[in-house]
């Protein structure tokens, strides 16, 4: 499937889940040397020992500045490393930055050999952030559900309403006040706490 199964790829990502998803994707694509680094201490020495062809790093990781040190000719690394993209790749830079990832390759490695790796990284990072958003939405929806139920319970108890009427009252008030039902529900809970 891939022309370059032997390229050594290092993933530097503090999120073990995302790194695992990316690693799985790269392995499926046929890359056999994929390593994950989550620990920061002595990153440069470890990169030196691994001697990767490609480094993929999470933008939220402060260690990007450590990796960029490798641009400088230094005895810490065997080969100078440069970001894979040149001026002509501005759309790829943009896509990568927006997805939250950056890529570095060993100097002299042909762009075409790295392109599929970078494209996959960008798409996995995007998929991961969608997943995280969905998870966040589900969590919020659940929290709101709980708030509504609690407020309904209070109204049922204090005003002697049945569940349906309590719900209708919350909804009507929200519409009149031009607020979200969950905000009205929260006010009911707060008020009830005050009257306790």
């Amino acid at each position: 499937m891939t022309n370059d199964p032997g390229l050594k790829i290092v993933i530097v990502d503090a999120s073990p889940l995302r790194a695992a998803i990316l690693e799985a994707g790269l392995r499926e694509a046929g890359y056999v040397h994929v390593m994950r680094l989550a620990e920061h201490s002595n990153l440069l020495a470890r990169l030196h020992a691994i001697d990767p062809d490609v480094i993929l790093i999470d933008l939220e990781d402060p260690s990007r500045d450590v990796v960029e040190q490798m641009f400088q000719v230094s005895r810490e690394v065997k080969r100078p490393v440069a970001m894979f993209v040149d001026q002509s790749d501005s759309s790829t830079i943009e896509a990568a930055i927006e997805a939250g990832v950056s890529a570095y390759i060993v100097d002299g490695l042909k762009k075409e050999r790295v392109r599929p790796i970078v494209d996959m990284t960008i798409s996995r990072f995007r998929a991961f952030s969608r997943l995280r958003e969905e998870l966040e939405q589900t969590r919020t929806a659940l929290e709101e559900r709980k708030t509504l139920d609690k407020a309904k319970g209070i109204l049922m108890k204090m005003k002697g309403l049945d569940e349906e009427a309590a719900y209708a009252l919350l909804r009507r008030t929200a519409m009149n006040e031009k607020k979200r039902m969950v905000d009205i529900a929260q006010s009911v809970i707060t008020a009830a706490d005050l009257f306790k």
Partner: protein
């Protein structure tokens, strides 16, 4: 209201930007600044490059390196405002400092500290011990050039006699504690954080090495400066007013309080106030070292980009072997510092009298070692044997 996205790294010298955004100085110019906290200088550069940020708190050498295309794709940046001068210090691990004390050099002077460090390094070499490792936060930083200047003054070769590495600020304390590094040169407040944690002591304050070292600038993409000159002038005016407010001693407590909030630095306000006042504890037990120039936010014309500072930075890049000297590159580096934009913004009658000019002579006020001659870079580079 024009909204601007401005990036910053949580450091004391983000003060002027934070004050401009939060205390009404931007609003007075019809601007609304959304501050974006970033974790690396590389992110700052890349986000400004692709336009996710309109501008940022930037290491002055990073703005110049990007404009010259050193180490990365070329990103043409301009610096129309200097956010501060100075603010850095060198912190060393206790055993190293104790060995330096034993050399008999006068550690209250900058040159004495350099000489003592030189003796310690040479003594270790004679005993065939591992070379000492020092860190900065980015290769293209004033911190790197300061450290290299001190090492050179100690008679050492920074590339051969010690190891210079990059350690991001949040990892410096742990790296010093674990012995991964023996010292570092970084900006405020990280020296104080290491001192409070008891893992090291401050050996030298930045202004004891260079009296007026360029540090952070407002960096914006050249295409933004060209497309929206009026917005940029308003931003410069807002920063100027914020810088003036921030440097006023009576406002330091309020500024430290603002910066201490978790969305900015998330550190105790009293520690930050000491940075602003230039009163640093050098050890956990205290032993304050005072210097009114520790962090200069505005006074003596510090906010106006001084092209001589850009040329000093370029010369340090050559000195550090980061690039080869070309007269055209030197001019391009100087052109990153846009005093013309600053002056244009200040020409508004509302801004009052123009700020004082920077002092003449050595523009960085070199305290020991070879002084910088901006009028003749080549001569300077020859004196330090870099060309």
């Amino acid at each position: 209201m024009r909204r601007l996205a401005i990036g910053f790294i949580p450091l004391t010298d983000a003060a002027v930007l934070v004050a401009a955004a939060k205390l009404g100085f931007a609003a007075a110019e019809g601007l609304e600044i959304d501050l974006h906290r970033e974790v690396s200088w590389a992110n700052i550069r890349d986000k400004v490059n692709v336009g996710l940020l309109d501008g940022a708190h930037m290491l002055a050498p990073l703005a110049i390196a990007s404009s010259l295309g050193l180490g990365h794709v070329r990103v043409p940046l301009v610096a129309p405002f200097a956010l501060n001068l100075n603010g850095s210090a060198i912190t060393l691990a206790h055993p190293i400092y104790e060995a330096m004390e034993a050399t008999g050099h006068d550690l209250s002077s900058g040159l004495g500290v350099a000489q003592a460090l030189g003796d310690v390094v040479r003594a270790r070499q004679a005993q065939r011990l591992e070379p000492l490792t020092f860190s900065t936060v980015y290769t293209f930083s004033t911190h790197t050039y300061m450290l290299r200047h001190v090492l050179a003054a100690a008679g050492l070769n920074p590339d051969r006699d010690v190891r210079l590495v990059v350690v991001p600020p949040p990892f410096t304390v742990e790296s010093l504690r674990s012995g991964l590094i023996h010292g570092f040169c970084v900006g405020s407040p990280w020296n104080a954080v290491a001192v409070e944690a008891g893992v090291g002591r401050i050996a030298l304050l930045g202004p004891e090495i260079f009296g007026w070292a360029p540090e952070k600038v407002l960096g914006v993409h050249a295409r933004f400066a060209e497309a929206e000159p009026d917005v940029l002038r308003r931003l410069v005016r807002a920063l100027h007013a914020a810088a003036h407010w921030s440097e006023t001693a009576a406002n330091h407590a309020a500024l430290a309080q603002l910066l201490s909030s978790p969305e900015f630095l998330g550190l105790p306000a009293d520690v930050l106030a000491r940075m602003l006042e230039g009163r640093l504890n050098t050890t956990q037990a205290g032993q304050p070292r005072e210097n009114p120039d520790f962090l200069v936010l505005h006074r003596d014309g510090a906010s106006r980009p001084d092209a001589r500072h850009a040329s000093w930075i370029y010369a340090q890049m050559v000195r550090a072997g980061q690039t080869t000297y070309f007269p055209a590159d030197a001019r391009q580096a100087e052109a990153v510092y846009r005093a013309d934009i600053y002056d244009d913004a200040m020409s508004s009658p509302a801004m009052g009298a123009p700020p004082a000019a920077r002092p003449v002579g050595d523009p960085v006020n070199t305290r020991f070692g070879e002084p910088f001659t901006s009028e003749n870079i080549e001569d300077y580079l020859r004196r330090i044997r870099s060309i």
